[in-house]
Symmetry: C2
Subunit: 421 residues, 2 copies
């Protein structure tokens, strides 16, 4: 008998009909002979509605109380799912994050899981019950306070439970058929990836692929959890995200997928004195403002010049704060000016096969050159190459690169709308 963890997002439990459909899905897995633990998000727009209410009663809602408020959302959906499963003739019991032993730190609104002690869940499973757990939430053991994991937290809850329960697989139900070689809304000929390593998945997720939450993917990789990303609307196999064991011979395509990201901006610090320690100074200032930097380029200073330019990319949402922090230290750093560009796009190609295949960069740059796309910045990891280009060229470039690397499918992908939490 296998133990399966299933995670259903907000759009899968948006109303009574959807909840009944999810319940049938859960019961199918049970009747196929599995132990089943289910993680659910709040129904549809519940979280947004609760946030609106909070903003009506307080201009700056207290984070502790915000978490108390928002966790009501999963409480509702999990109880309804449990009822619906029971009405199909199976024992089902719902558990809050704290009842499920989801122990976190005390960062309200973006808590990190520090331990999972699912004793009550194990007892319920061993008594034959289907277990329904609230995603997105946990509690801090020191204060006894309820916490939430932040957006996408339900995926992380599911993976963390799968790890703690040593589940055979963690099924992430979504409104798309799996992970695609590119976003099908941008690249119509994108095809479903059947198997992908968690390392590749992490690179795709970190570089703009929305289908799986980054933290959840990271957690799955670190704890060796196998994910199955699949549609709650069909019974088709989705995408298996697996962790190759040490020394396992993996037959991998050179390029697994292409990701695009329009959420970043670029800051260039112009005319920085070309003396040792200046880059460190700049990035210390930015880091102290708690801003995450992605790519960095320092131009080689021309012969005889004593000034250089340093560029970096960061989330657009943090652009203003970074500029403010740098301006406040203008005299210290001694730069000439700051330029800000939020019309950039990032294109990434990801593939574990890159490790053993040279020439991927050359092939990428050639294809972009032929498409008339200028490359502004480049960064690479062992299994990824990313380039910064103009935002308005991103989608076209993605289609061309997807094609150039032989990823195009014969048929267009069907695109569904909406995503859950």
């Amino acid at each position: 008998m296998s133990l399966i963890v299933q995670k259903f997002g907000g759009s899968s439990v948006a109303d009574a009909e959807s909840i009944k459909r999810v319940a049938r899905r859960i019961v199918e897995a049970r009747e196929a002979g599995n132990d089943v633990v289910v993680v659910v998000s709040a129904m549809g727009d519940t979280t947004d509605e609760l946030v609106d209410l909070a903003n009506e009663v307080s201009s700056v809602p207290a984070p502790r109380e915000m978490d108390m408020l928002l966790t009501a959302g999963e409480r509702i959906s999990m109880a309804l799912v449990a009822m619906a499963v029971r009405s199909l003739g199976h024992d089902a019991r719902s558990f809050t994050g704290s009842q499920a032993g989801m122990i976190t730190d005390d960062q309200h609104g973006s808590a990190r899981i520090v331990d999972v002690t699912p004793g009550r869940l194990k007892d319920a499973v061993s008594e034959g019950a289907i277990v329904i757990v609230a995603g997105f939430q946990g509690f801090n053991k020191d204060t006894g306070d309820i916490t939430t994991l932040g957006r996408g937290g339900s995926d992380t809850s599911a993976v963390a439970l799968a790890a703690a329960l040593e589940a055979d697989v963690c099924e992430i139900y979504t409104d798309v058929d799996g992970v695609f070689t590119a976003d099908p809304r941008v690249v119509p000929l994108a095809s479903k990836i059947h198997r992908i390593t968690s390392e590749e998945m992490l690179e795709l997720a970190a570089n703009g692929a929305k289908v799986l939450n980054i933290r959840a993917t990271e957690y799955a990789r670190r704890h060796g959890v196998t994910l199955h990303v699949r549609s709650s609307f069909t019974h088709d196999e989705g995408t298996i995200v697996y962790n190759p064991t040490e020394g396992q011979q993996v037959e991998e395509p050179i390029i697994t997928g292409v990701a695009g990201d329009l959420s970043e901006a670029k800051i260039t610090v112009v005319g920085v004195p070309d003396v040792p320690g200046k880059a460190a100074q700049i990035f210390t200032i930015v880091a102290n403002a708690d801003i995450n930097i992605d790519m960095i380029v320092q131009n080689v200073s021309h012969k005889g010049e004593s000034k250089t330019d340093i560029s970096f990319t960061l989330p657009k949402s943090e652009g203003e704060r970074a500029l403010d922090a740098l301006r406040a230290s203008a005299a210290d750093i001694g730069f000439a000016e700051l330029s800000y560009d939020d019309q950039i796009g990032k294109l990434s190609v990801v593939g574990a096969g890159m490790r053993t295949n040279s020439g991927v960069s050359a092939q990428l740059f050639t294809a972009l050159f032929e498409a008339g796309v200028n490359i502004d910045m480049i960064s690479t990891s062992e299994i990824r190459i990313s380039v910064i280009l103009r935002a308005d060229q991103l989608n076209d470039a993605m289609r061309r690169i997807h094609s150039a690397f032989g990823l195009d499918s014969d048929i267009e992908a069907v695109v569904h709308a909406g995503t859950g939490r």
Copy 2:
């Protein structure tokens, strides 16, 4: 410094505006120099909406899951109230029933409080915080499951917390100005009672007065909690429900109030063999069906007859079940027929002064006779006389009795609509 427990019902926290109003009210009590612990119900119709959802996903929702579902309601309102209080510049923290140490038995949907261990609340209060607690909910220590106390449970939560925290007073905020000498919707000249003993309050509540929950009143009496029933719309003093100490000389009017109740029906078991043990047999059958009986009358059998009639009243909602139980035992009991009358009304006069004043019954029966009202059944306690009469005569009889006992006020009472949970 006093410790005040304040309870606000669902209509007092129905929307963002109401919640902000309640927050100001709480802060006033705090700024007057008191420690404040607040108990809130779910917002407005939340509970009904959640019940509807449950019925959509399951024809017979599991009680454990129903409690999990419904307790989301107070979680929302308490977090919002805490946020609203904080935005007025005071520390405020919300606690669920289980965080507040509200330990109950395992009767989901109508759990009884077995202990209250409010250690976390005491800590928060001693740290200067205003504490906001979810009413209506608790948890079972053996199973770790969440429970609810049933309708009116938030009043009971407030009283139980007031007892455990040794609060100076438990303020029950409602949409009326206090407890009246009669329901002002029926008796326009009813006047607000300034002080009433918990014993009298209990008799009024048990006999049709809706303003205070019976269980909460009983709890307050048993644990010596002083209640203050008052309006959340005005700052007027409401009604103090107090517990006279042993030997305390209480200056009481003979009659404190008049209550009417249209929720009962009467069953008459006709032609019961007039032999010892028959009444016991009948009421054992009814009790085994878990039905609460109110008044009982056994007619004196006429000379030479060997049959008698036994009548009793019970909640209309349990009428069918009682009839079924009796029919099933018809042969055993040996009665001739059952008659069912759901067009009865119960009028009660309550007053601690009855103990030391004779003639109240005579005065009541005379007034009813003069009003042309026939009395069907009579029952009395030390401080109450109740009579069963025709339902369509109840309201008029209440007005006449109210007047006959000198309770009429000079001005008509203002009537508000709606009640909270």
